[in-house]
């Protein structure tokens, strides 16, 4: 929102410099994003007089001008066809920043340097309206009026002396969307009084009431409708000062009637609308909701389809405006307009917001109504507009305003407790100080006791409804900077602190294990979203197709990361991610959270070589057992022996050679190799191994309480055994048989060699194990161990179709 310094001065005396004013407004919460001082906007630009124009010796289209810029005469090369001697023109001196470059497609600004153009030195530039940012004409130079004096600074010539502030208005303060609103805030800062000028109208003898009938049928959505009728209006451009003012805050001047309504809007914050009275059937205004599906063409020429909750302004027959949003084309002010009906109404904020949202149409009016508009402003604004139109056109203002105000708003009173104020703010303000602070905001004490003050809230501060709102005003008026920054605070330790999180522990572990943590998007495209699950949660209003489905697994995101890295030459990857995945519990998305599954997962990924190429050790490609080993280590660390792997027979296209992981007997996730066709979809040609586990299950298996198991006092004994078995025999079966036979004495079992080859015959393999026996109460004798080993060998040979192999 642009606010003009000069305009503000119509309502309040300001002696603060713009920089100070901007800083002070920000201090009270009206953030000034920046400001532009127009007086310095055209630094290094002056009025010049073209003394001579000659043809450029080396270029047909260029001319060589001698230009008087007051202090000297400059040689300037000019390419415009319309330059002639005797003209007064805007000159940019060397060093000026040209606001817009007409040779740049985006019109970027540039700094003017002394230049040689086709062999002739040019010491400045004659500017077009486009280059100066004063219009769209880029074809020729801007020719100034003949009375302009050479050497006059261009800002001065334009009469520019204003400062424009860029305000960032918060959603609760619709009253700041006007100059009077900002002036009132300055009143709080400086204590100087802010006020609107009185509207002075010369009324005719004809009663307005006799010429227009206004009825509100929907009194909930339209709380007040004030109006003025003006006759003998002459449509022309509004006076230059008003056009300038509107342009300075970013509004395009149209004609004196529309300009006045916009001016009063920017002045008071009250949206106005002017109807061509003669086009209103029955000279009537009826405020009511539209018929469902009714069509209506707005001022911008677009046809809109209305709903039954869209509040409309209608005449005797038809709708003529969408209340609080935009007027209709059918009753628009036009060349032939002679009589005008001014609407100054107050509409329900949520109704306007619904309509504006539904139509996708946000206007200066709707933005203000949505936030709320001072209900006591309608009459003043209508009168003020009538005054200005009368002043500009000599129009006849009919006697009396028409003001339909079904339920007059009663003034708001809010009580404030001094003690409570200090309790919230940590201040020690007295009642008197509070009354004086709030007085600057026109909050006046209506009644008070020793401890409590009842304030009357002015109608423009409709945001103040309860005590905390007043406390905030006290804080703003007192100044946040003046509230103590207390560095001592008591902390209640009656509840234990929750400090340890499994996620943090896992992260630290994975980093120690040499993995890079990644974070990927949780909104994905449909292909990725459905890669690992049939049902996925979709967003109803996605910003793009790439971000329309919530991830059902961390795998697709990880594949994207691999894809990116491989395409940038990084092939050896060790990655992990902890993040939430989402799903539907049933078939359909429901309106409660029960309908959705949301769970945190851990993803681990290996790809490329186990270790990067180096001397002295062979580098090899990662395989499934590298990943299994990493996962095993992780699970052993956090879940001790509460996990196990389940081996699938069938592999899917997604994950080949998959293993399921169980923790405490429940499925916690899987690990395996990503299917070739899936990987190819991500342009990945090498093998890729992933593991995805549910964090909740890891949490369930997480063993934080540990008790010491006494270290053995007697020596343990190791024996190695190798069995020849059929290739189809699984290690797990053999190992189980060894453990069964070994009982509690066997405390450790390691597969240390796996061999297949000529020595043991085709169709066979050799599994070599190292066994460790640990007695608790004695030292084992050789005979005892031999007997133990023999028992194991016999059991394995019997159950696994195995043969002991001599080592």
């Amino acid at each position: 929102m642009k606010i003009s310094h000069n305009w503000l001065k119509e309502y309040i005396n300001i002696s603060l410099k713009p920089a100070t004013l901007a800083e002070n407004l920000s201090k009270v919460g009206l953030e000034v994003g920046g400001y532009e001082d127009l007086a310095v906007k055209y630094e290094m630009f002056v009025v010049g007089e073209v003394l001579e124009r000659a043809k450029h010796p080396n270029a047909d289209r260029l001319s060589l001008c001698k230009v008087n810029v007051g202090s000297e005469v400059l040689d300037i090369v000019c390419g415009a066809p319309n330059v002639t001697a005797g003209q007064k023109v805007p000159i940019a001196l060397v060093g000026a920043t040209i606001p817009r470059n007409q040779h740049d497609p985006e019109g970027k600004s540039f700094a003017l340097e002394r230049a040689h153009i086709r062999g002739i030195q040019s010491n400045g530039m004659i500017c077009s309206a486009y280059e100066l940012g004063l219009g769209d004409d880029a074809d020729g130079i801007l020719v100034l009026k003949q009375s302009a004096k050479p050497g006059t600074p261009f800002s001065k010539f334009l009469g520019l002396s204003d400062v424009l502030y860029d305000m960032e208005v918060t959603a609760n303060r619709g009253d700041w969307l006007s100059h009077i609103g900002v002036a009132r805030e300055i009143q709080m800062i400086t204590g100087k009084k802010a006020s609107l000028p009185r509207a002075r109208i010369k009324e005719s003898a004809t009663l307005a009431k006799k010429h227009a009938a206004i009825r509100i049928l929907d009194k909930q959505k339209c709380r007040r409708y004030s109006s003025r009728v003006l006759k003998n209006v002459k449509l022309r451009p509004s006076p230059q000062w008003m056009q300038d003012r509107l342009q300075s805050v970013g509004l395009r001047p149209i004609n004196n009637i529309v300009d006045v309504t916009n001016y009063v809007l920017m002045e008071t914050g009250q949206p106005l609308h002017a109807f061509d009275y003669d086009t209103l059937a029955g000279h009537a205004i009826v405020v009511k909701c539209a018929e469902e599906g009714e069509k209506f063409t707005t001022l911008d020429g677009k046809e809109r389809i209305l709903r039954s909750d869209t509040l409309m302004i209608c005449d005797g027959e038809k709708p003529v405006a969408i209340a609080g949003v935009m007027g209709g084309a059918n009753t628009e002010i036009s060349e032939g307009t002679t009589t005008v009906l001014i609407e100054s109404a107050n509409f329900d904020p949520s109704s306007v917001r619904r309509t504006s949202k539904y139509l996708g149409l946000s206007t200066d009016a709707s933005q203000r109504f949505e936030r709320g508009v001072d209900i006591e402003m309608t009459l003043y604004a209508a009168n003020r507009a009538a005054e200005l139109i009368q002043e500009f056109t000599g129009a006849e203002v009919l006697k009396g305003s028409i003001d339909i105000y079904p339920k007059k708003a009663r003034p708001t009173f809010v009580s404030l407790r001094v003690k409570r104020t200090n309790k919230v703010l940590g201040t020690s303000l007295s009642k008197q100080e509070i009354i004086s602070l709030l007085g600057r905001l026109e909050l006046t004490p209506a009644a008070q006791t020793k401890e409590t003050v009842k304030f009357r809230v002015p109608s423009f501060r409709y945001d103040i409804v309860e005590e905390i709102d007043l406390i905030e005003e006290v804080a703003r008026a007192y100044g946040y900077d003046n509230i103590e920054t207390k560095t001592r605070m008591t902390v209640d330790f009656s509840k234990p602190l929750r400090t340890n999180s499994l996620q943090d522990e896992i992260r630290n572990y994975m980093i120690g294990a040499g993995f890079n943590e990644v974070l990927t998007y949780s909104l994905q495209d449909r292909m990725k979203g459905h890669l690992m699950a049939d049902k996925a949660v979709e967003v109803l209003n996605p910003v793009s197709a790439e971000a329309s489905v919530l991830r059902t697994s961390l795998v697709p995101g990880a594949l994207t990361v691999v894809q990116h890295n491989r395409s940038h030459g990084q092939r050896d990857l060790r990655l992990f991610e902890i993040g939430s995945v989402f799903g539907l519990r049933g078939e359909q998305p429901g309106s409660t959270l029960d309908a959705y599954v949301e769970e945190e997962r851990l993803l681990v990924l290996l790809s490329g070589n186990v270790i990067s190429a180096q001397y002295g050790s062979e580098h090899r490609a990662t395989d499934l057992f590298d990943l299994k080993g990493e996962v095993q280590a992780l699970l052993s660390k956090f879940c001790l022996d509460k996990y196990r792997f389940i081996y699938y027979d069938s592999a899917s296209a997604l994950i080949e050679s998959a293993l399921a992981v169980e923790i405490n007997g429940t499925y916690a996730g899987f690990l395996g190799e990503v299917g070739k066709s899936i990987a190819q979809g991500f342009d990945i040609d090498g093998a890729l191994f992933v593991c995805e586990l549910r964090v909740a299950d890891l949490q369930g298996g997480w063993t934080t309480e540990k008790k010491l198991i006494p270290l053995p006092r007697f020596p343990s004994v190791r024996r190695d055994l190798a069995f020849v078995v059929n290739t189809g025999m699984q290690h797990e079966t053999v190992a189980r048989a060894i453990r069964e036979a070994g009982g509690t004495l066997l405390t450790n079992l390691v597969l240390f060699d796996l061999y297949a080859g000529d020595q043991i015959g085709a169709g066979n393999k050799s599994l070599a194990y190292s066994l460790e026996f640990q007695p608790l109460d004695r030292t084992l004798t050789d005979r005892e161990i031999d007997a133990e080993v023999l028992r194991i060998v016999k059991h394995v040979e019997a159950t696994c179709n195995a043969k002991l192999r001599a080592l």
């Binding site: 919230v424 940590g426 920054t485 998305p589």
Partner: protein, 336 residues
């Protein structure tokens, strides 16, 4: 002259320690300790100093000469010993066998550091779901239905009354519903905003919010706690300011700014030449919010605050495109 002597001392110390074999050390001796060396030259210069300064300077110079000789002898001993050893068959300059180096994502690191600071102040960590209901995301946080405040946070909808949370504030409500005061919690997590993707804005990002509710908690405490955090996180010398703003769930509300730590407040590209950086939003928890979770608003007051992790990480690491955080280029990740 004193300065000259000290310069020679420093230069000598550096060169002696740099010498890695006896030959190199010999060159150092020639340069400093020989008849025409730097120290001899200093004795030569002594002749031209005023008599009054001679005793003090002479002492200084003699000390230098002695120290230099001792240092030279010791270094020579060390170097010749190591060279006497039989040459090993091992080439010790071979590189160590590389191990993969794990890294924590820069966003996690930033989040962890913030968490750690608040945990030392007695805050616990709480989390909540990313798919939320309208009630927890807006209603309970005092966003009236049909209010423009809802436009402050463009929302992704999943179904009627179900959405992707736009801030971590719903966790405030869930936390307070589950426990009575005192409450001191921080709430890190992922949030979603329906905005066009660019270098400066993504459809999802991370936040950390904090909540402190107890008897006697004031706006003064809010300022004190957040300033303590800022000094810990951004450095003891940053200046700060609090400016009024609007959030539906806090009143009074404040944006916190710190002086730009890059330019120290003079103005630079990072702070858009204003010298200040907005680092978080905060405020006193609105009584309606406390009422919604059944707290006695007369007895308890509290403050809340929130900050965007991506923004903070951008400032800290000098990242100017948010998308880098989610591309996960390992050459990027391994820098942190």
């Amino acid at each position: 002259m004193t300065e000259k002597i000290n310069q020679v001392r420093v230069a000598f110390d550096i060169e002696v320690s740099k010498a890695v074999n006896v030959d190199e050390l010999e060159q150092v001796r020639v340069k400093f300790l020989s008849r025409n060396g730097a120290i001899a030259q200093l004795f030569e210069d002594m002749k031209s100093v005023p008599v009054s300064e001679k005793p003090a300077l002479g002492k200084l110079l003699n000390a230098l000469k002695n120290d230099a000789q001792v240092a030279f002898d010791e270094r020579k001993k060390t170097l010749s010993q190591s060279q006497e050893k039989p040459t090993s068959s091992i080439d010790l300059t071979l590189p160590g066998r590389p191990k993969p180096i794990g890294t924590k994502h820069p966003l996690t690191q930033t989040m962890d550091e913030i968490k750690k600071i608040f945990m030392t102040m007695g805050f616990s960590v709480a989390t909540g779901p990313e798919i939320e209901t309208d009630y927890y995301n807006f209603g309970a946080l005092n966003f009236p239905p049909e209010h423009p405040a809802r436009d402050m946070q463009d929302t992704f909808f999943i179904a009627k009354d179900v959405l992707l949370r736009t801030h971590t504030s719903p966790v405030q409500i869930r936390t307070m519903e589950q426990q009575k005061p005192p409450v001191r919690e921080i709430m890190p997590g992922r949030v979603y905003r329906n905005e066009a993707v660019s270098a400066r804005s993504l459809v999802s990002f991370h936040q950390i919010e904090g909540l402190c509710v107890d008897r006697g908690v004031t706006f003064s405490d809010l300022k004190g706690t957040l300033v303590a955090f800022a000094h810990q996180f951004y450095g003891k010398d940053v200046r700060f300011k609090f400016r009024p703003t609007f959030f539906p769930f806090t009143e009074p509300s404040a944006d916190m700014y710190i002086s730009c730590f890059l330019c120290k407040g003079k103005g630079c590209r990072m702070c858009k030449f204003v010298g200040w950086l907005e680092i978080m939003g905060s405020g006193m928890v609105h009584p309606h919010v406390l009422q919604n979770v059944g707290y006695d608003t007369e007895e308890y007051t509290g403050f809340a605050f929130g900050m965007g992790i991506e923004r903070i990480a951008c400032l800290r690491y000098g990242v100017d495109d948010l998308r880098l955080f989610y591309e996960n280029d390992v050459r990027f990740l391994q820098q942190f």
